[in-house]
Amino acid sequence: MPSPQIDIHHVAKLARLALTEEEAAHYQQQLTRILGHIDQLSSYTLDAEPSAHAMPIFDVIRPDQDRPGFEQNEALSNAPRRAMDQFQIPKVIE
């Protein structure tokens, strides 16, 4: 694997983070260094199946039954802004 070249502006956009120019330069440098270390993995022959978690349990299902959930007011209780009993967001349609 070639030495990683992280396009910090592209990644920040994917991550929905409005970094300042100063932050972008700082993270670019730090992440390049961290990725340089992480790249040691590429020098290993990793002959094994990937595991997403440690315990061999898959496809967990539960009975398809009603369970108590939040009332509308509880669900909205932490909303930074609400209007007409809904979450309020900036306008998306002109």
Binding site: V11, R16, E23, I34, L41, P50, A52, M55, N78, P90
Partner: protein, 473 residues
């Protein structure tokens, strides 16, 4: 001795004999917090009236009846803040429900009391990444308490709590317990429900107790474990009595010493104390066996791919719409997301979100994420092979004692590399405990050293048995 300095087992006896009441305990813990929290900074908030009201109603016939337990500020307790040490959740979030672990604790009669400081969203090993305050190590106020459950460990070590809950993704219970000189156990992955624990890296996170004694850790663990339908990764397995191995000898138990863990670069004092501990275990009848965990050196790299990858997905929920910080300046929806997150998250969280987003992004997924998952399989297989021949594995919890504030702050990679002994345990889903094993000198101070004991999956009983025998010897 003040009640706040006491243990669960001692307080239970005094409650049973009616010598004290739950109100006395909460009052005494509150007094300790009010006297010392300005110095130690373990708690971010605490509600004495609420805890007293709950203590007055506590059912003393229950095994934890009337015992206040401090809670890391990433575990939801109804009506209380749950800041995760972040500006993102500090403004107005109040938990609308109890986490699964809290439901269990309440079922056993315990009283959740106080919210404990932590590295923001549990990302860090020093609690310096909290956006909301400094926590100091009660053993040396110039030093970090460790992290991310630094508040949980500092509260126990400073006698500002009877016992606390922490969470451990790569060592965040065991390492602060080691730095502060207390006991901290990360149970097998899936033992304790993660429902209501604010997710950092879902395949690694696990809640566990931080306590003054091994016995207290076992008692508390008895009332945290069990299947929860609201967490599909919680295990539907028998929950043993975790105190059942306490007081038993360890003659003939085989103790694995991974040759890859006893390497140069470990602080001389830490190395000496851990070697003393091994001799002590041997004198108690245990048999030391050299073992090999050949993939140890890829552990940190594997973790710092998998954990940020999962974190970047988990923290996508903080979008300023349903809860958390919302930027007041955004003109459209995209700006709303980007600015709310930019303003709400601190530097380490942004760093890990960026790293995780990068390793999952198009073109890099196979090179990083899948590769790390393969390495994870090999790390788990190393342990499986080792446990064919030994009952437990011991190591230092951390390669060095507690650092001074700021020492590793500007070098995240150096800080990450210090997690070398704790990370593989999370990647393999194993139970691990850190117990005090003496002190090491650093900068003219005697600082606590932690001994880590790692067990087979679901074999916390043997782990606690060895820890208890060591503690009592």
């Amino acid at each position: 001795m003040s009640l706040a300095a006491s243990t669960i087992s001692a307080l239970r006896q005094r409650l049973a004999s009616k010598e004290i009441t739950p109100r006395d305990i909460v009052t005494d813990v509150a007094k300790a917090i009010e006297a010392q929290n300005a110095t130690i900074g373990a708690y971010l908030s605490w509600d004495v009236e609420k805890a007293l009201a709950e203590a007055d109603k506590a059912d003393l016939s229950q095994p934890l009846g009337g015992i206040p337990i401090g809670i890391k500020d990433n575990i939801n307790v109804t009506g209380e803040p749950c800041t995760c040490g972040s500006k993102m959740l500090a403004e107005n979030y109040k938990a609308p429900y109890d986490a699964g672990a809290i439901t269990k604790l309440r079922g056993a009669g315990a009283v959740p009391f106080g919210r404990l400081n932590m590295d923001e969203f549990a990302m860090g090993s020093s609690t310096e990444n909290s956006a909301l305050g400094v926590t100091r190590n009660p053993r040396d106020l110039d030093r970090i308490p460790g992290g991310s459950s630094g508040g949980s460990a500092a509260a126990v070590a400073g006698n500002l709590a009877i016992a606390t809950l922490g969470s451990d993704t790569g060592g965040s219970i065991r390492q602060p317990a080691a730095f502060c000189g207390c006991v901290g156990i990360k149970p097998t992955y899936g033992r304790v429900s993660r429902y209501g624990l604010v997710a950092f890296a879902s395949s690694l996170d696990q809640i566990g107790p931080i306590t003054k004694t091994v016995e207290d850790a076992a008692i508390l663990l008895n009332h945290l474990c069990g299947k929860d339908l609201r967490d599909s990764t919680s295990l539907d397995v028998n929950v043993p009595d975790f105190t059942s191995g306490l007081g038993r000898d360890i003659k003939g138990l085989r103790v694995g010493l991974p040759k890859e863990y006893f390497i140069s670069g470990i602080h001389a004092g830490v190395s000496a104390r851990v070697n003393d501990a091994i001799k002590k275990l041997e004198s108690l009848g245990a048999i030391p066996v050299e073992i090999s965990l050949p993939h140890t050196d890829v552990g940190v790299s594997t973790y710092y791919i998998i954990a940020p990858a999962e974190a970047s997905a988990n923290l996508a929920r903080f979008d300023g719409v349903r809860y958390g910080h919302r930027s007041s300046d955004a003109k459209d929806l995209m700006e709303h997301y980007m600015m709310s997150r930019e303003e709400g998250f601190g530097p380490e969280v942004k760093r890990r979100i960026l790293l995780g987003t990068y390793v999952l992004s198009s073109g890099y997924y196979d090179a990083y994420y899948i590769k790390a998952q393969r390495a994870r399989t090999l790390i788990r297989q190393d342990f499986e092979k080792a446990f064919e021949n030994v009952d437990v594995i011991v190591s230092p919890t951390s390669p060095a004692p507690a650092h001074k504030f700021g020492e590793l702050k500007e070098d995240p990679l150096a800080a990450y590399l210090e997690d070398i002994f704790t990370i593989p345990v999370n990647l393999a889903g194993l139970p691990g405990i850190s117990i005090p094993c003496g002190t090491a000198e650093e900068g003219g101070k005697q600082l606590p050293v932690g001994l880590q004991i790692i067990g087979r999956p679901l074999d916390e009983v043997t782990l606690l048995r060895v820890a208890d025998a060591f503690e009592k010897a």
